[in-house]
Symmetry: C2
Amino acid sequence: MPYYIGDVIKDERKLIARTPEKFEASGIHVLLNRKAEEVDGEKREVRLENGERLPFDVLVLATGAAATRPPIPGLDLPGVYSLKSLPEAVAIKKAIGGGGAKKAAIIGAGFIAMEAAEAFRSAGVDTTLIQRAELPVRRWDPEYSAMVKEELQKHGVHCMPLTSPRAVERGASGGLKVVTDRGEVEADLVLVATGVKPDTFFAGQLGVAVGKTGAIAVNFAQETSREGVYAVGDCCESFHRVSRSWTSLPLGDIANKQGRVAGSNIGGAPLLFPGVVGAQSFKVFDLEVAATGLTEEEAKGSGFSPVAEKMTGTPTARSMSVGERLYLKVVADRASGRLLGAQAVGRKGAVSRINLLSAALWSGMTVGETAYMDLAYSPPFGGAWDPVHIACQELLRKL
Amino acid sequence: MPYYIGDVIKDERKLIARTPEKFEASGIHVLLNRKAEEVDGEKREVRLENGERLPFDVLVLATGAAATRPPIPGLDLPGVYSLKSLPEAVAIKKAIGGGGAKKAAIIGAGFIAMEAAEAFRSAGVDTTLIQRAELPVRRWDPEYSAMVKEELQKHGVHCMPLTSPRAVERGASGGLKVVTDRGEVEADLVLVATGVKPDTFFAGQLGVAVGKTGAIAVNFAQETSREGVYAVGDCCESFHRVSRSWTSLPLGDIANKQGRVAGSNIGGAPLLFPGVVGAQSFKVFDLEVAATGLTEEEAKGSGFSPVAEKMTGTPTARSMSVGERLYLKVVADRASGRLLGAQAVGRKGAVSRINLLSAALWSGMTVGETAYMDLAYSPPFGGAWDPVHIACQELLRKL
């Protein structure tokens, strides 16, 4: 009889409250609001905090990633959140939606920070972004990150770059303040969004191998180094089809797929997870920001000789364009001509280009092939030469 | 010295008027408003209507496709157009933009007819669509074509299905009327949009091979059966990577690519045109309509055993959806599991899915691979399981 152990929030979100019953109806025991404390790999049992012991033949580690927190005091004060669990999300939503939060500070500038900044501003909350680096979302080239920053500022987000937080303290008027090396920021709500790291606590207890990335090592069936113990999602590694190496990419769509693959194998239908190409995206106000494959730096690190091309195009045919720009960068390997990665930013059409380039990366296509790939041309959706073609044609000349 | 022979319109479209000078500056003679009458493959010369003779070493046939016209009287009356040349487009634009055309009839229901219907309605012109079949755009499944019809009707287009035109005649009040087997349609403007066929006139004179499709046969370098004679665009065939056969697909993006490939070969840099997968799309009012690869029927004709799956999803994550639907059909081969084709319709997101599936088709991916393909997931742009994944997962179960 399979068990699911975890917590659940029972509030206005009825769907979630209904889920346990659905599982129970399928013969799956759901143990809610209980916490696994120890996993014994020899006895093959899970010990819960309340003393209960659950024997297992097969165990799936789906422990996710934990939010990292800078080593500063005050992060345990009420009003300080990370955005890692559903209860926190609900609390934040309450705080900005009539809960009295008028000012928010976000520590960090990854894409969770970007999405939170948009949500805060949409709720009319005065928002300050505090980050150590000069530009947000450093997965992207500075030229593109600068566009993201401009979009933040255009929508009233105060950006404090090159700034290190020192502490969160109680403020004068009942709120909080973030003390930094560049002054203090008052806030009713502080969101710490400085990234995540794989939760390998039980993997450690079980003695299963952890990869160089710090995430649990798995094979293509999602099984760990210990037979019958599987790992899926943010806590484990994924095989990167472009770099041909194991990577840690804590993204929800990957987690979903890995869960399905593990379940299929456990259920007796062998299935391999074919890996990832590093496709990712976020929306910040009116901007689509997306990337796939390797950056130039990552490509070098993987032994390639990257050559890149940046182009500015239009998401529709030029004749139908009303001034929107699509910025697209493509990276290829000089030796093999193979496409290695891409980045795109624009008010529209950025994600769709990155998705089709992800499909090209998936199959190991060369830039030469990508430059002549057949797309569904129609002026409202792109030119006869799509930005993808143009960028790849230009890149071809450099190879 | 290369020659370009063709006509050009010199009017408000300054870009076109400037082009000849740009060519001349690059050392290319542009012979405008002159007509080639005969091509002599033995003497290797082109004879113009005005008696001029132009010798050639290399000849490129870029004669395009001619609009087909139903065998009915009256198509030479003023006010009857096809939409194949720039002068016609300009004349139509003039007629509906203050030129007095209040009523239009469109004969045919392919995607040129769809785009014209939208343009006419946007100019406030009362528009009637006359077609022999029951539903428009028969490349798509009846279920999807019915959505297109609904969209047309929602925007005030009168649809006359199962109707055969018999003649175009002068109407009572100075306009025209289309006489059909189901009554008469008054119109100030009649657009005949019943399709195109490859213009192989000079190919016939030269004795170069014409394929089974009726278009000029070429090799992957775009060269015809006669050395030094190339063909590009709507007049010639393209290799279909899914059916592995030569096909005739008169689409602007394919023509552009083939022109570039021929030019590269002629200029001394060998280059092969890698073929097409049949990607195509159009917009009609607020609807995106797209397809790629083979239909089930085409798949059968190519020796595959097609299995198909239709799904209704949302273009964004369900949590961010505001009721938009994305309709997606995927087709695969039962024996090999290979993806063979797809169709999509929706207010948004249809073209982007078809483009990424085109990239999957390009590389001959299986449905199993496509069902786990890594895409740039973010709720505003799709679910953790994109409609593409869901459709392919469902299809997998049927294989």
